[in-house]
């Protein structure tokens, strides 16, 4: 296919329609393509991990809307709560943590706290709704 020659007897094909179509395709893919890489975390609720042991070996951490965390009946800042749970974890490696976010706590806060716990080596972190019977 000769695109540039203008010799007698040859057909000159205009590139303009091709360029138009390619431009339209380019605009479409630029607008429609997504480069976001979605991640995921396994968000287990308590019973999904078994309730045979009840709350034995489990520490409850209540996330409050003001940012504090109630652990062991005491309200403290998240950093202190993390340290407190980490100390417990040092004594009991099989320690489970149940996070109970209160109404008004943003999901990002709960995810951040759960990730901080996992970063400290606590593999068994699950969520639990407030006010649900065991």
């Amino acid at each position: 296919m000769n695109l540039s020659s203008r010799d007698e007897g040859t057909v000159v094909i205009s590139l303009t329609p091709l360029v138009d179509v390619v431009f339209i395709l380019l605009v479409f893919f630029m607008l429609a393509s997504s480069f976001v890489e979605w991640r995921s975390i396994d968000a287990q609720t308590q019973a999904a991990q078994g309730r045979s042991n009840g709350l034995v070996g489990t520490v409850l951490a209540d996330l409050k809307p003001d940012g504090d965390v109630v652990v062991g009946g005491r309200s403290m800042p998240p950093s202190m709560a993390l340290q407190y749970i980490d100390d417990l974890h040092g004594d009991r490696p099989e320690l489970k943590v149940l996070l109970r976010p209160a109404d008004g706590v943003a999901l990002q806060v709960a995810v951040d706290f759960a990730e901080s716990l996992k970063a400290k080596g606590l593999a068994d972190v699950s969520f639990k709704p407030m006010g649900v019977a065991q």
């Binding site: 380019l26 393509s33 976001v36 979605w38 991640r39 975390i41 396994d42 976010p101 709960a110 709704p129």
Partner: protein, 129 residues
């Protein structure tokens, strides 16, 4: 820049459009290969950021939770009470795409409803931090 017309009717030489076409082709190829086409969500949801390395699963129903508590399952708006029934027996895995600003207690209540409906695994979709 002239894309049409003859090159010698007024004595001016045409600009060579081939480099332009080459670049456009390269850009097109890049966006086709590197980008991923996704369905747009029913409403805008900005998932929480996490350090998780785990890729989001592909299968399973997708439960959207908006910042204002709006719910949609597989692009159909539903109410909170319908969440359990909607997934009953459908799948053992449910993906939750919840807004980072949504109420965590509400999301956990929904997770509990899903568990009671027989869902064994709930995958909370997050964004790379």
């Amino acid at each position: 820049m002239r894309l049409h017309g003859s090159d010698d009717d007024d004595g001016t030489a045409p600009e060579n459009t081939l480099p332009l076409i080459n670049i456009v082709f390269l850009l097109l190829t890049f966006f086709m290969v590197a980008g991923a086409l996704e369905r747009t969500d029913l409403f805008n949801v900005s998932p929480p950021a996490s350090n998780s390395e785990q890729a989001a699963p592909d299968g399973g129903p997708l439960l959207l939770i908006g910042a204002d508590g709006t719910l949609a399952l597989n692009d159909q708006t539903i109410g909170e009470e319908g969440v359990g029934k909607a997934v009953l027996g459908e799948s053992k895995l449910v993906r939750i795409k919840a807004d980072a600003a949504s109420d965590a207690a509400f999301v956990v209540r929904l997770m509990e409803k899903l568990r009671q409906a027989g869902v064994e695994k709930v995958s909370l979709i997050t964004m790379e931090r």
